[in-house]
Symmetry: C2
Amino acid sequence: MSDTLWPNSASVDEAAAITVRLIDAVLDRLLRVPPDLEARVYEAMRYSVLAPGKRLRPLLVLASSQLFGVAQRSALQVAAAIEMVHAYSLIHDDLPAMDNSDLRRGRPTSHKQFDEATAVLAGDGLLTMAFQVLADPDTHGDAAVRAELVSALAGAAGAAGMVGGQMIDLIAEKEPLDIGAITRLQRMKTGALIAFSCEAGAILAKAAPEVRLALRGYAHDLGLAFQIADDLLDVEGSSAETGKPVGADAAAGKATFVSILGIDRARAQAELLVNQAVAHLDLFEERAELLRQVARFVVNRRS
Amino acid sequence: MSDTLWPNSASVDEAAAITVRLIDAVLDRLLRVPPDLEARVYEAMRYSVLAPGKRLRPLLVLASSQLFGVAQRSALQVAAAIEMVHAYSLIHDDLPAMDNSDLRRGRPTSHKQFDEATAVLAGDGLLTMAFQVLADPDTHGDAAVRAELVSALAGAAGAAGMVGGQMIDLIAEKEPLDIGAITRLQRMKTGALIAFSCEAGAILAKAAPEVRLALRGYAHDLGLAFQIADDLLDVEGSSAETGKPVGADAAAGKATFVSILGIDRARAQAELLVNQAVAHLDLFEERAELLRQVARFVVNRRS
């Protein structure tokens, strides 16, 4: 079909490279800097959302959309929106009052490159623009789909999802959490947005509820595996590879999957979750090969 | 009609009192605190959005909705969403990195009452929830209306609207702006959200474009009049009446309508704008009496 972004046999590397190129072009188009005084906030928004990155969430949106033959333009708009939300969350999480990080994706964080006020506003602007993009008739011809995308993203990103997860993460610096609480925290903080990315294709295609549920199951396991891999990288990775300080969680006294389970059991748990994630994709047969590979890539990545 | 919130002859005080009561009940229902660790961010969201206030934007949503006989439930949901966005903007504007205000609506600001990280998250959570409320089928049965509400609010609140206006406001502390630039700043920073509030009724009622344009014209003049009145209060008001520090703009070295025009010309300009605002409402005849009174109230208020 004409709307295929990559052949079904594409590797994760190939699909990821295509994703980066296409998404960055869409983000560049959506974030034109106006010739006015507010240009500064647009520059800060661009600085963070166009920073080199894996574009994992856009890749998941595009891969889930391709399962259903969703129009490329629709998938790319949603993928751009989710990357805006991801970038906003990093900007605000890095603020001095939050994680106080100076380095992100190998570059100064937003408040270091600009200033704290501009960083707050850049995050606010990206979050707001994500909803504007989803509600735009350009994204889908059916307003019910657009409204559902807004609903689903707001649910994933808000106080019952990512924002609530970040709140718990801050509390975790003072109160030790058990493995159940950490699992819930991570499902909210990173899992919810990953789940939205995986479900986006089904929403855009108005797929049957059981199909959407399968993708949610995949995303749920993938999200936790992703987070455990992140915790492992925080302990084992090098700053040169990850582009951010190593050992930050331990230094902050935060309980993580690794600090509770130990390295070996955490690694085994991640492998188990990946196998579980992949099992949810059986109904898609060979069409979901890329999503299967993404799951394996996520736990084996070095950055 | 059964969906009338107040009689057509209601005074601003009567309508405002009804608005406060109804909106606070809706906000209370939408912001139930969950029995989990993330409760803290919900408490912070409630602290700010339920703080005593004029609820001017909700009043405008309800008044414009009543022009068209829009269902009460729809109007109340949109009014709650706009108050969430207003509260989020106050929380983030008050942060130490922004205006560094300790007092808001007569109470400690969010970062003083909680802490800075919680305040950032509470703002993020309120902004996100506003879009969730607008996209909710509870708000309107027609998904096209819901998507248009999201689109319009995102446009008004984002980098081309409120966020961009706040960016310019920060720049104005260092670079002197002329009257044209200040007018544009205020149209973006406060005018855009007021315009959305006034247009909301027309969007909910799927009113004709020329009707929506009339409301936008009214809102545009009202927004500037409101801001000039605010600047006058900053110079002339007492902290006890306004619930926030007096003279903050002058202390920050910011140019305002009053610093450029002087008190007398600023007051005359506000009066002129109110008359202009009211003139846009002619096509609604006596049905718009409340909106006319709101315009006059806005420039004569003492807080």
